[in-house]
């Protein structure tokens, strides 16, 4: 498909027609809206073929199993790997990273060794590693970020590298600053070490940019379905098959077992090794449909469409007196954070909603980053494939009205 399809993709999302009264939606980084095809896919499972998957010969189970495993293949292809065995379905990015951090802390991270995360990480890619270090006696070190650009300081990272580094875990795209990490460069740095793996939080990337894990050279990649036009409650952990099979299971029972006796059990291999219990197969199947949706639009076309909307938004925001855009990366994806002099971010969020623009404010699950930036929080506008110039114009209009109403507070600030 083409840019024209991206420009008109909005009509594929029923929520916009259903809610003409609602503010323009500028919170896609928190969750994306869902196209009809994804919603239909979800309902089709329940309405036509619902049966618990795997280890069963009846037709319902076979149809759902086939659809689930077809979705797994689609997701594998989506991120540039040939092997569906490398796709573990989880509940989302947070669970994926927790699974990985816990599993690596069992055998792969030892006392005195180091885990590196960047200063701009979401809590979900910070706290699991804090816990892994606490359990193992390893040290968590923070890779500096340029607070002005929002970009990872690669030279500082190089100075932190030695043979004791076991894990480097990085967000592909910052959920606050929109900066894109130089993953290939980071993976090459990790590859120069004897036993270092690169883990990636791809939550803000996969719905916006083409992602190819083979080209990136990373070892693990996590993302969430609901941030790429798929349903909530489903996500993915990708890792090379041999690496996943070397990890201990995270939860026990259900599909992850091979044999069970009263006194001992053996476990399945990847991906089922990490999919204990009944999987959310309807959501996984609908995630496969979301993959089809994005691939039909064209990943590069999606990126180009959003880049244009982001550039337009940035240009219009920059013209507002007293508005400070937070972070000026060379390449931006998905989000723009800003504050206005003398105005609390929460006040702006409230008033923008009342005047027709749904944005998010606060620390965005990145409290350490807020400390680095010297702010309590920011206002964040985030965009998706359905976002257009009219949305940006509505945001600017809402900002004008909000700031006028808040002007008495600004005078006394």
């Amino acid at each position: 498909m083409s840019r024209e399809s991206c420009d008109t993709a909005r009509v594929m999302f029923p929520i916009f027609a259903n809610r003409p009264d609602a503010p323009v939606y500028l919170d896609s980084a928190a969750t994306t809206q869902k196209p009809s095809c994804v919603l239909d896919s979800l309902m089709r499972v329940y309405e036509h073929s619902n049966g618990n998957v795997h280890r069963c010969a009846h037709r319902f189970a076979r149809e759902c199993t086939d659809s689930l495993e077809s979705a797994r293949k689609k997701v594998a292809r989506f991120i540039g790997t040939a092997s569906p065995k490398e796709i573990v379905f989880t509940r989302g990015t947070t669970e994926s990273i927790n699974l990985l951090a816990w599993a690596l802390s069992v055998d792969s991270i030892r006392a005195g060794e180091k885990v590196l995360v960047s200063a701009l990480e979401h809590h979900s890619n910070m706290v699991p590693w804090q816990e892994a270090c606490r359990r193992t006696g390893a040290t968590l070190q923070i890779i500096p970020v340029n607070p002005s650009t929002g970009e990872i300081d690669i030279e500082a990272l190089r100075s932190m590298i030695d043979n004791s580094v076991r894990v480097i875990s990085i967000a592909h795209v910052s959920n606050v600053l929109g900066s894109i990490a130089p993953l290939r460069e980071i993976a090459d740095i990790a590859a120069s070490l004897p036993s270092c793996v690169t883990a990636v939080d791809g939550a803000q990337a996969v719905g916006h940019l083409p992602v190819n894990v083979a080209e990136l050279g990373v070892d693990y990649y996590s993302f969430s379905g609901h941030k790429m036009y798929g349903p909530n409650g489903i996500g993915v952990l990708w890792g090379r098959e041999d690496a996943l099979n070397a990890l201990p299971p995270y939860q026990f029972g259900g599909e992850m077992i091979d044999t069970v006796a009263y006194d001992t059990s053996t476990y399945n291999s990847s991906p089922f090794r990490f999919e204990a219990g009944t999987p959310d197969y309807p959501a996984a199947i609908a995630l496969g449909t979301a993959v089809d949706f994005l691939e039909d639009l064209g990943r590069e076309s999606v990126r180009e469409h959003e880049a244009e909307i982001l550039a337009y938004a940035e240009d219009r925001l920059r013209r507002i007196e007293g508005l400070q855009i937070i972070g000026h990366p060379a390449s931006r994806s998905g989000v723009i954070s800003f504050n206005v002099d003398g105005v609390h971010h929460f006040d702006l969020e409230i008033m923008l909603d009342r005047f027709g623009a749904a944005v998010r404010s606060g620390h965005h699950c990145a409290q350490p980053l807020m400390g680095l930036l010297g702010v309590e929080g920011t206002v964040r506008a985030s965009f998706g494939i359905y976002s257009n110039r009219a949305d940006v114009d509505a945001l600017i209009a809402a900002l004008g009205k909000s700031l006028a109403l808040l002007s008495c507070a600004r005078r006394t600030a």
């Binding site: 609390h344 409230i350 606060g362 808040l406």
Partner: protein, 140 residues
């Protein structure tokens, strides 16, 4: 005037506004003109936990009278906190202990702030009552 009468007066003030923007302007004006808590009093001890936007409430008891000073960085939150302060400040300890704060529901406070921050306001009220109940507020 007791807490119930104070709440009634607040509700009457809001009912005078026909348009939502006027109600917001009033809350914002309240917040903008509300005296700020001195920075040295914005401590972990006075901070209201359970409030997503930073808020502090300082409670003193002097000669059996409760003095309350609440604050927040958000001017809208500060405006709403000023209403809570208007209800409690100057009451006796007994009045604070026995008063029921219900004006949120009548005012649809959720329209002004989200449900999480409405829960934060409940934390402020609980904090004031707790300070009086345990008499842990600074006595001057």
């Amino acid at each position: 005037m007791d807490a119930a009468a104070r709440q009634f007066e607040i509700l009457e003030r809001f009912r005078a506004f026909d348009h939502w923007a006027d109600r917001y302007a009033y809350v914002i004006e309240l917040g903008a003109s509300h005296p700020r808590l001195p920075e040295e009093k914005c401590t972990d001890e006075t901070r209201v936990h359970g409030c997503k936007t930073l808020a502090w409430v300082d409670v003193h008891i002097k000669d059996g009278t409760v003095r309350v000073h609440a604050d927040s960085g958000s001017v809208i939150m500060r405006g709403v906190l000023s209403l809570i302060q208007q209800i409690f400040d100057g009451l006796s300890c007994d009045d604070v202990r026995t008063s029921t704060v219900t004006f949120y529901e009548s005012l649809d406070i959720g329209d002004y702030i989200d449900s999480e921050r409405t829960a934060g306001l409940s934390s402020v009220v609980r904090r004031i009552k707790q300070c009086v109940e345990t008499n842990s507020a600074t006595s001057v």
